[in-house]
Amino acid sequence: MAFDSFSDWLAMGRHGVYVWTAWGVSLGLLALCVLLVRSEIRTVRRDLRRRIRRAAATNGGGQG
């Protein structure tokens, strides 16, 4: 453990603000990428499902 206490870890020896901004932004960007990508695939699948259901409905549920 490179730090004595939790508060010492937070302070990062007067460099805390830099370390936490850099890390915060970076991990934040990663998290944002994950959210965007997962929602992208979900919306694509939902639109596709709706399109197929609508196509099936208009053709009287034929070959769709």
């Binding site: 453990m1 490179a2 730090f3 870890w9 990062m12 020896g13 007067r14 460099h15 805390g16 830099y18 370390v19 901004t21 850099a22 890390w23 932004v25 970076s26 991990l27 960007l29 990663l30 990428c33 994950v34 990508v37 997962r38 992208e40 695939i41 694509v44 699948r45 596709l48 499902r49 399109r51 197929i52 259901r53 099936a56 769709g64």
Partner: protein, 246 residues
């Protein structure tokens, strides 16, 4: 091997492969990045000169690696698309570009934040940061060019040409900027060289780098799957796949 190469080219086959490997990549990325972060932030020793601000390296270096590797990967995909007309390669190049730009921006931001305690200023025109900035411009250029073409095939070919021209320029830009102003410490370590840091410092860095590459793989696989569904929605195999579900 050739059959595999061409089968990889068919969107349907790639979709199946991607669906299978994707969850593993996400899991691997999550584990590695969490372990690397905790190790780097908590257990790794501080740098005797820079103190704890040194811990930013565990985010700055992986992002810088990703920024360059993704552009090279895009150029390779562009080449494969131009030569063998494998559409999945173009989809991959299109889908990974934003992540490359984000990673380059992340490297720039963490680099300049790291520069404040070390050099005393937010922005320093040092060789590596300047090369990163030019690389970000290259990413934006390719993405805007691809978005401007109305037809999909023209956009793919134009982007492939510009990316390949860009990738030829990356070493030129890197060394000319390097000559122009070298202030930054030499690259802390490349996979091949013996790292200048003690092992308990560069081991978490290695974990973070591998974690970022796993993230890149998972990100690309997921986005390419979405793109395949978007581009192949009129195809029968896509419709059959979704008809069973609804």
């Amino acid at each position: 091997m050739w059959a595999f190469f061409h089968k990889l080219g068919s969107p349907r086959w790639f979709y199946a492969i991607a669906s299978r490997f994707e969850p593993w990549c996400w899991a691997l990325a999550l584990i590695l990045i969490v372990v690397g972060s905790v190790w780097g932030l908590v257990f790794a020793p501080a740098d005797y000169q820079q103190g704890n601000s040194f811990r930013i390296i565990y985010v700055h270096v992986p992002a810088a690696f990703l920024g360059q590797s993704i552009y090279i990967a895009m150029a390779v995909c562009g080449f494969v698309y131009m030569v063998w007309k494998i559409r999945v390669a173009d989809m991959a190049a299109a889908m990974m570009a934003p992540l490359g730009a984000v990673m380059t921006f992340m490297a720039l931001l963490s680099g300049s934040v790291w520069g404040k305690p070390t050099w005393g200023t937010w922005w320093q025109w040092d060789a590596r940061l300047t090369s990163m900035l030019i690389l970000l411009f290259l990413y934006i250029g390719v993405m805007v060019l691809r978005a401007t073409f109305y037809r999909l095939e023209s956009a793919a070919r134009a982007a492939a040409i510009l990316t390949m021209v860009g990738v030829v320029n990356i070493p030129i830009i890197k060394y000319s900027v390097e000559w122009w102003n070298t202030l930054h410490q030499p690259a802390s370590f490349t996979i091949t060289e013996r790292p200048a840091m003690p092992v308990e410092m560069w081991l978490p860095l290695l974990i973070m780098v591998v974690g970022f590459y796993a993230f890149f793989a998972a990100f690309t696989l997921t986005r390419v799957r979405s793109e395949i569904l978007r581009r192949e929605q009129s195809k029968r195999w896509v419709q059959d796949m979704f008809r069973e579900k609804c």
